[in-house]
Amino acid sequence: MLRQEALSSAQKQREEILRIAKEKAEAEARQSDVETEQLLKNYRKLAEARRDDAVSKALELILGG
């Protein structure tokens, strides 16, 4: 009886620990998606601003190198 009570309580705690860990990880994963989206947005902005410069430098290298 003692054992059964202790294990039953531990089992409930185990389920709670797993549930919280899963929820926390999913929240972190969503945060990672948000940060990645922001990073991609920044890269696109940089590409737009520096594209011509990159093309010129590449042409210099090919034509001069």
Partner: protein, 204 residues
């Protein structure tokens, strides 16, 4: 007679008292034993529960790592894909500019230099030079013949060499060939180009 009866009473009482003492001691011992058994059972159950919880914490960490690592991996791939797409887009624009170089003011000088480099690389008395650029005419390539040694053969291709334009030189027998087309130069400079474009755009 009375005295015998009194003695028997005393004896009876003592026996009862002894028996009660004995019974009380037995009960105390049994109670102590029962308490010990319960305490040990409680300890064992607690140990089992603690082990189960410790295992649950490890499982939780594994669940967390599994969810996060696959997400982090997927997001890293998305970032790499996007950077690659941007670099390829720049390379596409570079190819476009190269294929239209005949329209630029530096065309004559570039064609001469490409020819000179290719002829030097082949190092032949009678080099054969093939050149072809999109939108170029024999007239605007005439300046090229200035840099050719005597005995050279110049061939004007109708189509751009290797699709983007350029120069290919060989010895008369075609055993030594130096490909100085834009495509070939792009391939030779591939890793330098990728680094240059990435550092210009992403600052890395």
């Amino acid at each position: 007679m009375n005295r015998v009866s009194e003695s028997l009473d005393k004896l009876h009482n003592r026996i009862l008292s002894d028996a009660k003492l004995k019974a009380d001691e037995t009960i105390r011992e049994a109670q102590a034993k029962a308490d010990q058994i319960i305490a040990e059972a409680r300890q064992r159950a607690q140990k089992e529960a603690d082990e189960l919880l410790a295992k649950a914490k490890l499982e939780a960490e594994a669940v967390r790592r599994s969810i996060l690592s696959s997400k982090v991996r997927a997001n890293r791939l998305r970032v790499l894909d996007e950077k690659n797409r941007i670099v390829q887009e720049v390379l596409g624009a570079v190819e476009e500019r190269l294929s239209n170089i005949a329209k630029s003011s530096r065309f004559g000088e570039t064609a001469q230099r490409f020819v000179a480099e290719a002829v030097k690389a082949v190092d032949s008395d009678q080099p054969v030079v093939r050149l072809g650029f999109k939108g170029s005419s024999k007239q605007n390539l005439d300046s090229v013949s200035k840099v050719l040694p005597k005995g050279s053969k110049l061939v004007f291709e109708e189509d751009p060499v290797d699709g983007l334009g350029g120069v290919v030189a060989s010895d008369a027998e075609g055993r030594i060939i130096f490909n100085n087309s834009f495509r070939s130069r792009l391939e030779r400079l591939d890793s330098q180009l990728l680094k240059l474009i990435a550092s210009t755009i992403f600052g890395e």
